[in-house]
């Protein structure tokens, strides 16, 4: 093996092992920053030793034992008992505390540690971008360089964001624990939000050009699947996984030949990925079988599943989609959800019924600058053959649209109504 190949192989081991390593170390040292430092030390040691000896049979255990030794050295060097106490908290009880504490670093606990680490990385004391960066770093095992590249940001900016996040967690004395029942739902919502943000960053590429960034989508999916293994009793976790699997099944159909976005109903369904669709159905089934009433992610997944089940756009079960949007509007009553519900009702029960619901949204302040409102209204009016009004709506929507491509499409529809 030549040297760069070796480094790549060792980096691959790091990507696989580092989340579990950092999670287990955090349980003991109670500080993600410190835990990551010890883990990094172990990685540096691996780079030099494995380069000559090759990768050991159980690289995870090797890294863990080196990190442990570094941590123990650190505590021995810690100057005062007070520092030791602060670092090790209540677990400091025996003569040789370090050895006994680190003895507990075995596999059985690590799954719980990973779950705790997810809750910590997505803690509400952190700004959302910090949660995203920290999650990718600690649970994805991504390097600062990789995160910066994925977010089209600079490496120092991401590094700083991560450093600040770790400091905020230490300053707020965020405990390394799975939140209790009272807080769990809200804290879990934050974890799911972060995972879905990462997914959407890849799916819709909010910054920069139009290309999909599949690596972020895949990382979010992977995190979601890991979370589903860690918290199998949470219906919304499976709901989110289902939603991501189903949405990513359409990723390659969303972009047309010249890079233009292709709307769901116009997509070539032959390009949908059937393996991801099946996985999405399976995850949705798990969410449904848990017997809780479906939450926002599972309901959105159920809607996505309706589309996935339809062999052609014409075969879409709009009545069922409308009913699911009804349910979604009850648990997640945002104006955008209500607008989507109006679209589904219009498809299921005729444009007149859809228009009634859209008209009820006209006074909604948060939709004032949302070009899809007049665009949906224009579409319904056009179907009702009220061409004059439809044209005015399309023109209004075009004036609000953010990108040239949408504007062109809307103006073309306005022109078509003018001719009708």
């Amino acid at each position: 093996m030549t040297r760069p190949e070796q480094v790549r192989a060792i980096e691959a081991v790091w990507g696989i092992e580092s989340p579990r390593l950092v999670a287990a170390l955090t349980r003991v040292v109670r500080d993600v920053g410190l835990a990551e430092e010890f883990a990094q030390d172990a990685f540096v040691a691996a780079l030099s030793q494995w380069a000559s000896d090759g990768i050991p049979r159980n690289p995870g255990a090797w890294l863990m034992s080196v990190a442990k030794r570094r941590a123990i050295d650190y505590f021995r060097r810690a100057e005062t008992a007070e520092t030791k106490y602060r670092l090790l908290g209540h677990e400091l009880q025996t003569e040789e505390p370090e050895e006994s504490i680190f003895a507990a670093l075995d596999d059985d606990y690590i799954a719980d540690d990973l779950l705790r680490l997810m809750f910590v990385a997505c803690h509400p004391v952190l700004p959302v971008e910090a949660r995203v960066a920290l999650t990718l770093r600690l649970l994805g095992g991504l390097s600062t360089t990789e995160i910066a590249r994925a977010f089209l940001s600079s490496e120092p900016a991401i590094a700083q964001r991560i450093v600040r996040a770790k400091r905020s967690l230490a300053a707020a004395r965020v405990p390394f624990e799975v939140p209790d029942a009272a807080q769990r739902t809200q804290r879990l919502a934050s974890v799911l939000e972060v995972v879905y943000l990462i997914f959407n960053e890849g799916y819709s590429a909010s910054s920069g050009d139009d290309v999909l960034r599949p690596e972020l989508m895949q990382e979010a999916l992977r995190l979601g699947r890991v979370l589903a293994e860690l918290a199998p009793g949470e219906s919304e976790v499976h709901g989110l996984v289902a939603l991501m699997e189903l949405q990513s099944s359409r990723a390659r159909a969303r972009i047309g030949r010249s890079g233009e976005p292709v709307l769901l109903l116009d997509q070539d369904r032959a390009r949908w990925d059937q393996m991801l669709i099946r996985r999405g159905f399976a995850a949705l089934g798990r969410a449904e079988r848990l017997g809780q009433s479906l939450g926002p992610y599972a309901l959105q997944a159920a809607i996505a599943a309706c589309h996935a089940r339809a062999r052609t756009a014409k075969e879409t079960d709009w009545a069922r989609i409308a009913a699911l949007y009804d349910a979604l509007a009850q648990v997640h009553p945002t104006p955008v959800v209500r607008l989507n519900r109006a679209v589904a009702v219009g498809m299921a029960f005729g444009p007149g019924s859809g228009l009634e619901l859209v008209d009820a949204l006209l006074a909604e302040p948060s939709l004032k600058a949302y070009h899809l409102l007049p665009s949906v209204r224009g579409d319904l009016l056009e179907k009702l053959r009220r061409f004059g009004e439809a044209r005015a709506e399309f023109e209004r929507a075009a004036a609000m649209a953010h990108n040239a491509r949408d504007r062109e499409l809307l103006l073309a529809r306005a022109a078509r109504c003018a001719r009708a």
Binding site: E5, R8, A9, E11, A12, V13, G15, I16, I55, R57, P59, A111, L212, P214, E215, Q218, L221, R222, L223, G224, R225, V226, E229, A251, R252, R257, D268, A270, R271, Q274, M275, R279
Partner: protein, 138 residues
């Protein structure tokens, strides 16, 4: 990126259940969120081979006795790099002379610009294959 990992065995598996070690290995792939599919294959006596020569299909029923290496199963995994797959599957609990072949799967993003048509055709082919085999599924 996705990879297909094929097991090539020197002797056929005959309805043996996967070992506990293999179960544990697969469990780590599930735990880390990278396993998309994993299947073991029945003996080649239940299979067939179609060879094409001069635009004609010649069908031979199994077993494929003359073959030294028989495909005995496969995984499909989603990983960050080939190195990750190599590292993970180096720990695969085989001990009877099996070998693993790791191949990266083409993704739509591997084709660009004028190659888009190729991607489209590949997707259609895949869809066609699926339609043939998925009639029994809900």
């Amino acid at each position: 990126m996705r990879f297909l990992v094929m097991v090539k065995a020197t002797q056929e598996w005959d309805g043996e259940l996967p070992t506990a070690e293999m179960g544990a290995f697969n469990e780590t792939l599930v735990r880390d969120g990278i396993l998309l599919a994993a299947e073991g294959l029945q003996p080649s006596s239940k299979g067939a081979r179609i060879s094409f020569a001069n635009a004609r299909a010649a069908v031979t029923d199994g077993p494929f006795a003359e073959t030294k290496e028989l495909i005995a199963g496969f995984w499909i995994v989603q990983a960050r790099s080939k190195e990750e797959v190599v590292e993970r599957f180096s720990h695969c609990p085989f001990e009877r002379g099996e070998s693993l072949e790791i191949r990266q799967i083409f993704e739509a993003e591997d084709f660009s610009g004028s190659d888009e048509m190729v991607a489209n055709r590949l997707a259609r082919m895949r869809e066609h294959n699926r339609a043939e085999t998925s009639n029994s599924k809900p």
